[in-house]
């Protein structure tokens, strides 16, 4: 991960899922904050690859997800 100064910069510069999670953690932790996502029949077609002939997995989400941080031990 790049040596960004703030959690916001870290999230902006992420290139992997773990980096995104760490940026999210840094942004949320210590503030008692919570991120809530509400999906209403959200449909996503995830390509299996980058080529034109890539197959697509169809994802449909409905419901809620709430994310908070825990203390590191």
């Amino acid at each position: 991960m790049a040596d960004a100064d703030t959690p916001e910069e870290r999230i902006d510069e992420t290139t992997t899922w773990p980096e995104l999670a760490i940026g999210l953690y840094d942004r949320l932790t210590g503030r008692g904050a919570e991120i809530s996502y509400q999906f209403e029949e959200m449909e996503v077609h995830v390509p299996s690859g980058t080529g034109e002939d890539a197959e697509h997995a169809e994802w449909r989400l409905d419901g809620t997800v709430h994310i908070t941080t825990r203390e590191r031990e």
Partner: protein, 139 residues
């Protein structure tokens, strides 16, 4: 609403230290390639419950290459574990508490842990349900 709490102490590999332990609460339904699953969190695990073995298999189709590895990296960083179930049997585990073995390597799904007993139990339960339905139909 279901509540999931991650456990930093469950990670054994220092390189996989949970640098961003998160807690996730869900009330969610997902449908992947037409296969519906409920996503709940009880205790320490995030539970993805499929209705049948064919549904669980269908959900794995056409996923991006390397998705299991990427997902595992995310789950270990956040110290989360995802448990896939069919008919209340655990068939696969991914993330912080997954312990992939020879079966996972043989099926080329490592780092996802495959629970052979759970798969057999789910298939048996499915066959039993089918036989029961057939019996009711014929009686």
């Amino acid at each position: 609403m279901a509540q999931f709490t991650s456990r930093p102490e469950s990670v054994n590999d220092p390189s996989d230290t949970a640098r961003a332990p998160l807690s996730v609460a869900t009330d969610l339904t997902v449908r992947i390639n037409g296969a519906e699953a409920s996503v709940e969190s009880t205790g320490e695990r995030l539970l993805v419950q499929f209705r049948s073995v064919p549904d669980a298999v269908r959900a794995t189709r056409n996923q991006p290459a390397g998705v299991a590895t990427s997902l595992t990296a995310l789950l270990r960083t956040t110290d989360l574990t995802v448990e896939a179930r069919v008919r209340d049997r655990i068939v696969a585990v991914a993330g912080a508490d997954a312990r992939p073995g020879a079966v996972s390597r043989m099926l080329d799904v490592d780092p996802v842990e495959v629970r052979v007993g759970g798969v057999l139990g789910a298939v048996g339960a499915e066959m039993s349900a089918a036989v029961g339905a057939l019996s009711r139909l014929l009686s």
